[in-house]
Subunit: 250 residues, 2 copies
DNA sequence: CGTCGGATTGAAGGCTTTCAAGCAGGGTGG
DNA sequence: CCACCCTGCTTGAAAGCCTTCAATCCGACG
């Protein structure tokens, strides 16, 4: 594994694939074949799809740089955004057992990924127990991640709560990927955020404007800044208004 | 593994743990130790919790009979329902890597589970490659299941869409567990459904009443019947002129 | 038979959407 | 350099959906 890291990308230590790639660097000899299975820093153009709904996938990916969105197309032909892949996320793990992809995954801007062949990985993990064990660990992490998404974003009572929870969630993911938790690129359109959260562009605009006026966040040129994290997390949980009164009455 | 199946429970073939339990019956000799790790048909009383928020878990479970809910308690002390475990579901897989549970998991009524010791499983899967591989497969299925939840339930534009999607989702899970997809027990209170979906009891009541009047579903004594599946799935996707007209004509 | 948790129904108010119009800013070609 | 365009963002007003609050009903269970 050559050290050819590119500026602005995720450190390998913060990458979800590290558990799969690590054996290579630790023990180059034994794991030489793994190198063949891995295509590092592959470029993906804006709008390009790395996997498609109802198709089997040939490779799984990890996002080094950029953001992807997962979408499904409903019977009416409308696109529904069902998830985002931020730097450090892995794509396609749920299809490793040769099932078809449930979603389209598309780059929202120029992106870099590390690509791993599903066929090669499936061969290799039979040969190398450590790879198999690390894959299991990766799957558990991914499972936990999905659970976190559901906990954070499903069942929000108001639009403001949903959006705040979304921003907190993105911030957490960016921190986990080794970036600043308070200032980062958010190359996602309001339309996509709204679609994902079940809201409208206009509502996102109004709420962001409100949050900016209240000095909770800044947002210019696709760059998000979290000014008042405490306030943002407060917005992300219900019954914030009553919190003070509640304490007073107790 | 004695064949002591109990009426109304999930068939082993439809259980998520089958990939772990199967080796036992296939090859009793080699996998004898696994039997110790497994406690079949353990009773869980209504309100009893099989895992708790911020605590490590000792066992993972699969639901043979009954329904569980997963909840988190927010800073204000309010309970938020973040998921349901229907028959055939597995509980706790995301905490296998000795991480703490993110949620409380509580039985909504008298239930039966198969319990597997985490410590024993972690020992055994190092010894038995087949167990390790099957565990990976189980994790992938679980991952896909979480993805399905997000796709089905996150980002619904209206309350009706959300509830219809929820019912379709439950129906699908019941079918997968080997029960009827159109008539099944739904021992979940409106309050819990509402909490999960980010709605209110009253809204669930009104929507269910409406759906009953339109002969889409029946619901009495905690038993749900799906009368018009086509209409229900239509309600579960964003409203269009066609969909509305279709329902209106009933 | 009374109690209690859960479900139902109505009225009023608020939040979000819908519809419509205008703005901003980056890229392109002249 | 500027006009132009296109995408995405902003803002306002009206309509509609969902919540809130409050009262009542129902059924299970001791």
């Amino acid at each position: 594994m050559k050290n050819k890291r590119i500026k602005g990308t995720v450190e390998c230590e913060n990458c979800r694939f590290f558990a799969l790639c690590a054996p290579i660097s630790i023990c180059d000899k034994d794991y030489e074949p793994v190198v063949d299975a891995l295509h590092r820093y592959k470029k993906v153009a804006r709008g390009e799809k790395v996997c498609r709904q109802s198709r089997s996938i040939r490779s799984i990916y990890t996002v080094c740089k950029g953001v992807f969105k997962a979408t499904v197309t409903d019977p009416h032909g409308d696109e529904r955004v069902v998830g985002f892949y931020l730097p450090g996320s892995s794509i396609g793990l749920e299809s490793l057992d040769s099932a078809n992809s449930s979603v389209d995954v598309e780059a929202l801007g120029p992106a870099l990924v590390c690509e791993m062949s599903v066929a090669r990985l499936n061969e290799l993990r039979k040969q190398f127990p450590m790879l198999q064990i690390n894959l299991s660990r990766l799957l558990m992490q991914e499972l936990r991640h999905y659970q976190d998404v559901v906990i954070a974003l499903l069942g929000s009572r108001s639009a403001e709560e949903g959006l705040a929870a979304f921003l907190v969630y993105v911030s957490t993911r960016m921190r986990d990927a080794g970036f600043s938790a308070d200032h980062f690129d958010l190359p996602i359109t309001y339309a996509d955020i709204a679609n994902f959260l079940g809201l409208t562009r206009e509502t996102i605009t109004r709420l962001m404007t409100k949050m900016k006026k209240q000095n909770v966040v800044t947002y210019r040129g696709r760059k998000l800044g979290i000014i008042d994290r405490k306030a943002l997390t407060a917005l992300a949980t219900p019954a914030t208004e009553d919190a003070n009164a509640e304490i007073a009455t107790v």
